[in-house]
Symmetry: C2
Subunit: 600 residues, 2 copies
């Protein structure tokens, strides 16, 4: 069975010891209340809620799935009550605007909560997750009236939100959408068209569902420049803010999917539904990216969350399952066999999971803090700097974390042997649930194109410097520390490979964008490995300092020993992959592009 | 939707042009009839049967699954009739003994058929697959009476077979089994115990089910040396060979699995069931490996079969799906968008699949021919040589092909984007079906241990020479050919890495078996990549010769151009992974073993 308890020790280590939450976030305007004490309490309560309420419904939710009947979607047993408790506990509005009833806590805290939710019940997490995306878009781009009409109920969770982008013939290429919006003359629009793959598009957990819909106005320019964003409620909202009659939007069917079965994935038919323009006409694409960028980081956290549960479950099983003997001779001669954790290959699987998870968590929270700094720092230059880092790291976190989430859940399943393939053990569900994260919110290949095609060149490479400079500074500062040499040297080598390939892509890509495209995925992965190496080197430095007697935040000496051992595994066993990636990048596009289309 | 047509061109290329089927197999004693004409006919008919009969029931089989009610297992709709047609067509006994009604064709042909079956309906293929394993064990180890009693019906397929090994508390470590066999005094035994994960343990497609069961006699030595093999029919067989009363074996339940849902996976309860010893007492482990080794190669073919379907489906989709524009500017300005095959990253996914699949097919059939040579060659030294190669390559084929099967089906699914995650499209089923192959018949970590722990050192490294020598000879023979230089040089480099790490493992492993264990998985993958590089270099040589005018077996110039382009992709984009594997191997066991158990 799946074993999970929230990794509070590691979360605290990353927030407080590694990333200086107190100095960087607690002091920002608006976060005066968000002291370490409050944060600790929130995380502990969140952990309890996820462990005790979300996790028990994860397996049954997968088995039951959502049921579609007569236009209505029934979520699995217990989900409605669970969602109510979630909203009543204030979890929905944790980091949303206090102007409309949210708690206004740092986004960093939301990242932590998102990890815990995804570890325990990803399908459930989809419902509030989509609402958050919609709230962000309305907060940033909605009129005051729209904010007042929708946000309080959405932030509470009484109403949920969706993002209606994809159509049957287009996903990545939204310039092709056919959904149209015709002016009613009174400022409202008639929205008509079909949207597919709409998560939380229809369900039985909320009073109302607020759809944010991409559509084209009659005078729209061709392609993605002609897209506008509309808000379309399932039920009309009356003058007094209460729920009125049904609008012209209905669920046509739900998808039968590989995983996240308790999350409803809907075909939504808009038939002259009344909708309201959000912001300017034809500016929908940019607004869509507001939702999308937050959602991409969220999806990255899905990978990490599932991977953490897979790791904990596999580690527990490997300590319990007796099978065979250690290659070094029986370790438990009193027992019929040794636990399988004695085997190097099992340890390799577990350490791979642990090293990716803890490295990713550090990287995620580093970026999460940048999200807060970008929003709240009084100094505009600091805000810009932080925003640059978030923009740069978003495709990396989305793509690498979800690829690792899939790899790691599969490693966890492998540790369980045949039992891993059996549904009741819960491990294969993690794999199926993890798989979608590599696809939605921009398939991972698209993330890689975003990185090389947009982020690399933006403002003459300014975004890149937000990563390269601190890594370079860290290397220079620590390269003569003998305790750190085994980590700093391979970090420097990885960084040098990353810089060489960056230069190569920049030069080649200018002449021929296909060269950049051909390098994109390998480059993203090389970037991610380097970023994890940076995080691991920084963690080691903190752990060594604490082992050597400096201030500790409650971690045991064993915690720091494990950090050191895991770091060594990362640098010796995982980081070497960067050499193959580097070699593949430098071959250029010919091996991909020379093959004739007909030969495939 | 899934697209598949049997890759007959490539199969013929590998059999005839690359591997000289006529010279090496058609001439062997017993295969006088198995001319190229006959082989072509059999493969073409097999392809038709798989495409037209097996494939149409693959999706419905997955949706319906097997149903267990009152001790009876119902296979999905159409499976019973399909199985009847399969047996009537003579497909079951294709390469089984003609002494008992089989067609006695080369095992090479069975490998080809297995690929086609796994491409079109893996779940269905499990039923005859298990029967084959049981037939092999009875042919080699059964008494004449046992052979006469069981084999004719099993070879026809009227009766099916199973392999009953695993118990709830033991899978890998069969020394722990608790199922016991008590002598009845008349030469028969009472078998009592519970077996789990028994594929085809119970179903409605055959008159009788013949279980091959591992159990312990009362006087059995401890551990794996005390295991005996028994044959236990579901229905007793009467003197006249007809089916008699029910034996004391029954299905207790079936598993709910991630995939291969139309294959019944049973808990089998033996309650004083009558059984008969196969061969000597306490010699069951070795006999089990007779079944197991054949089964391991079969399972490797499952990976390849599913991967081929994934590749063909993804390639077809990538040519059809219009989305976005080429980075080099619109390729089809008349259409709303370009097909996604214009994108480098989509091509990278497709070429990865194609390069692994075609390389694996060549490697598989090379080893398949060695299976035939090991059985039929008049020269004992040649037989031994071939048997060595099979023994060496079995864990590599099982582990690498199934890992690639999983990776490749996932790449195929990724090409489909969101549609890949939806059940009705069929791509996610390939992924779920492929996942089990990494686990059963010895999880892939066990294969790696088999390679480094048993095969490497066997007879002073004699097995290794069966691979190293021909590769070395190929390199020496072709290193001065300017057309081959771009392939031979990286092959030589990969071989050198493989040889260095072999030496390192041999030396370190002697002192400390955990060192070998810590290197095992990375070493197996390095070995597999080198073997694929050897196959690709050989294929290129043949294709170049044919392009330059030598005899061709019907392939078009485009076929050979595609071989060359795919080979270049393999050498430039995939083989570089070997550097990271090599570096990881050479770090030794410390990064895996230094971590304390409690720290996981």
């Amino acid at each position: 069975m799946v074993s999970y308890s929230a990794p509070l020790d590691d979360i605290r280590f990353v927030l407080y010891d590694l990333l200086d939450y107190d100095g960087r976030i607690a002091g920002l305007p608006g976060f005066e209340e968000a002291s370490r004490d409050l944060v600790d309490t929130v995380i502990e309560e969140g952990a309890k809620f996820c462990e005790n309420e979300l996790l028990p419904l994860n397996r049954s939710g997968d088995e039951e799935g959502c049921i579609f009947e007569n236009g209505v979607v029934r979520t699995p047993k217990g989900f409605k009550e669970l969602y109510e408790a979630f909203c009543e506990g204030g979890w929905n509005g944790l980091a949303l605007s206090p102007d409309h009833g949210g708690q206004g806590l740092p986004k960093t805290l939301q990242f932590v909560l998102t990890e815990l939710i995804c570890s325990t019940n990803l399908s459930f997490g989809m419902y509030p997750g989509l609402t958050h995306g919609a709230c962000n878009a309305l907060e940033l781009h909605g009129s005051d009236e729209q904010k007042a009409t929708y946000l309080p109920n959405m932030i509470h969770g009484r109403w949920t939100g969706t993002m209606c982008l994809t159509e049957p013939h287009c996903g990545t290429d939204l310039g092709l959408i056919r959904t149209r919006a015709e002016p009613n003359g009174d400022g409202s629009y008639k929205i008509t068209g079909t949207k597919i793959f709409i998560s939380a598009g229809e369900h039985d957990m909320s009073e109302n569902i607020i759809h944010l819909v991409l559509a084209k106005l009659p005078d729209a320019p061709e392609g993605s420049k002609g897209i506008s964003l509309f808000v379309v409620p399932k039920f009309m909202v009356k003058e007094d803010g209460s729920v009125g009659p049904r609008n012209g939007v209905a669920c046509g069917s739900i998808e039968h999917k590989m995983g996240i079965k308790a999350s409803s994935t809907c075909v939504m038919n808009f038939d002259e539904a009344e909708g309201y323009l959000v912001g300017e006409a034809h500016s929908g694409m940019a607004k869509m990216f507001t939702m999308m960028n937050v959602a991409r980081l969220d999806v990255g956290m899905q990978g990490l969350g599932l991977a953490e549960t897979a790791y904990q479950s596999a580690a527990a099983y490997a300590k319990e399952r007796l099978q065979g003997r250690s290659l070094a001779g029986p370790q438990h001669p009193d027992k019929p066999a040794d636990p399988i954790i004695v085997h190097p290959d099992v340890r390799k699987n577990l350490l791979t999971m642990k090293a990716y998870n803890e490295g990713s968590r550090a990287l995620a929270f580093w970026v999460a803090m940048a999200v807060d700094v970008a929003e709240k720092h009084p100094d505009a230059a600091k805000r810009q700097e932080a925003d640059d880092l978030v923009a740069l790291m978003t495709p990396i976190i989305k793509s690498f974390f979800t690829d690792q989430g899939f790899e790691t859940t599969n490693l966890g399943m492998q540790v369980f042997g045949g039992h891993g393939y059996i549904r009741e053990w819960g491990m294969e569900q993690l794999v199926r649930d993890a798989r979608i994260a590599q696809i939605y919110e921009g398939a991972n290949g698209i993330q890689a194109l975003d990185l090389v095609g947009r982020k690399l060149g933006q403002n003459m490479g300014r975004l890149l410097r937000r990563f390269f400079h601190p890594v370079q500074a860290f290397i220079e500062e620590n390269q003569n520390d003998p305790q750190l040499a085994e980590f700093v040297a391979p970090l420097a080598k990885a960084l040098s490979r990353l810089q060489q390939s960056t230069l190569w892509i920049a030069q080649q890509g200018l002449k021929d964008p296909e060269e950049a495209g051909a390098a994109a995925t390998d480059y993203l992965n090389l970037f991610a490995l380097t970023a994890l190496a940076y995080m691991w080197a920084r963690m080691v430095k903190v752990s060594l300092a604490q082992t050597n007697g400096s201030e500790s935040n409650g971690q045991t000496p064993e915690f720091h020993e494990a950090k050191l051992a895991t770091a060594r595994f990362f640098f010796q066993r995982l980081l070497p992959k960067s050499s193959g990636l580097f070699a593949a990048i430098m071959t250029g596009k010919a091996p991909l592009m020379d093959m004739k289309e007909a030969a495939f």
